[in-house]
Structure formats: structure tokens, C-alpha cells
Symmetry: C2
């Protein structure tokens, strides 16, 4: 019931990019600023790049920047880019594992809780993390 450290790191990467003045940063910058092992941060940024959350620029003046407006990137987007589709119990995504019992009484609860969780995680977009004290 816990997000992975990798997902947590990914959120910090996106947060860093959404807040840095220059609009872009290198793996080294991000890793150091956010206390993420450098090579691990590189892998994470690759995943974010494949998920179209981040854009990469190669070469000597390269680095990473957000692929779209922070208001259009949610915590859920980032988590799912790293971990794959969120599901709170094996039976929610893999329906098979629940069907040997004709009616599993608990199944609807997992579905409900998953929806609740995803809605909330999708609500928090990266424009909501500003310096303004008390905004959260």
C-alpha cells in the first residue's frame, strides 16, 4: 500500500523541473538537488521521457524539461509512468484472480477505493506546488 521510492524520486524530478527558473536541468543537477542517486535518476528520467511527461535534449547544452504545462501533469501521471497502472489489489486489474468465487463480497470495495485514490492523485497537478505558504 506504499508507493515505491522510485515513484517518489520521479515526483521530485518533475517537481524540480516545474520549479527551476531555467525551465530545464541536467540529470546531475536534479539528482544532487533532490538527493537521488545519479544513475538511478537518469533511468527514472528516461521512463518519464517515454511517458511523454518530460522531454530530453542530448548534447553539451542538453538536459530535461517538462513536456507540457505543469497544470496538465498530475501525481497520478507520474506514478503510473513509473509503476504502471495503479491498482490497490490484484483482483481489480486481473479480474481472473477473483472469479473462481462466483461473488467475491470484497471486490466492489477495492474498485471503489481505487477510484477514490486515483481521483485524488489525479487532482494534484504540479501547478499546485508553489512557494506561496499556506497554499496547501
Amino acid at each position: 500500500m506504499q508507493i515505491t521510492r522510485e515513484a517518489d524520486y520521479a515526483i521530485r524530478c518533475v517537481l524540480h523541473l516545474s520549479r527551476c527558473k531555467e525551465g530545464s536541468a541536467t540529470v546531475g543537477d536534479i539528482a544532487e538537488a533532490q538527493s537521488i542517486p545519479r544513475t538511478f535518476a537518469a533511468k527514472i528520467l528516461q521512463k518519464l521521457s517515454k511517458a511523454k511527461i518530460v522531454k530530453s535534449v542530448r548534447g553539451i547544452k542538453g538536459g530535461f524539461r517538462l513536456a507540457r504545462d505543469p497544470a496538465r501533469i498530475s501525481i497520478l501521471d507520474v506514478i503510473e509512468a513509473i509503476q504502471g497502472p495503479l491498482n490497490v489489489n490484484i483482483c481489480v486489474l486481473d479480474r481472473q484472480s477473483c472469479e473462481r468465487q462466483p461473488t467475491c463480497m470484497v471486490h466492489p470495495i477495492w474498485v471503489e477505493i481505487q477510484i477514490l485514490l486515483k481521483e485524488r492523485l489525479a487532482y494534484y497537478t504540479f501547478d499546485k506546488f508553489n512557494d506561496k505558504k499556506g497554499s496547501l
Copy 2:
């Protein structure tokens, strides 16, 4: 972000006990009815017993029964008996891991989501799982 199979099994064990006519059942009965590996079910029931969710009776006419009314046992109780205190991100329980940054912008969100999740899981008690179609 997923409950473990062990916790899922545990919920099924409690569900079984809350619904069986005799009010008690052996590990063998529960394991077979709920498709849980027998020795694993035994371990799970031991944990539930230590958490005072279930009571054990040794000896030839022994088995397990609920330690209290199903209305006073929630899904959250069972999950926490198996997995320990629920926390959605490492920083929520272990505050240290977040404090190197003076103000982590994301932390309050994890706290909020954790409360939301726990409230919902605590809402669902085992008296709510009856045969009545449409009750859920």
C-alpha cells in the same frame, strides 16, 4: 500501492469466519474454502490471533473464531494486523526521510491521502458483507 496477497488472504479468512454458521472453523476448512495454501493460512491466522481479531482453540475440537463482533472488525484492522501500520509513502510514517528538505511540498498530500484511505478502509466492517444482493 497494492495490498499484499497475505493481507488479501487474511481478509478472506475473517470473512469466512464471519459468515460460517458454526461460528468457528479449522485452518483446513478456511484454507480449502478460500483457496489459501494451508500452512500459509495457519501463519496468517496466528497473526490475526495476536492482533486479537481472532481467537484460537487448540486441541481436537479446536479451530478459530472471531474475537469480537464483525461490526467491530474493519478491513483496515485486518490489513494493519498483517502488514503493520498503513502508510502510503515512506515519509508519512518515517518523518526523518522527508526532513532534509526544509519544506517538502508533496508531504501534505501523502498525509491527506493516507487519512482518506484509512477512513474508507475503517468504514468497511465485516457486518457489511452479507448475502443480500445489492447491499454493496
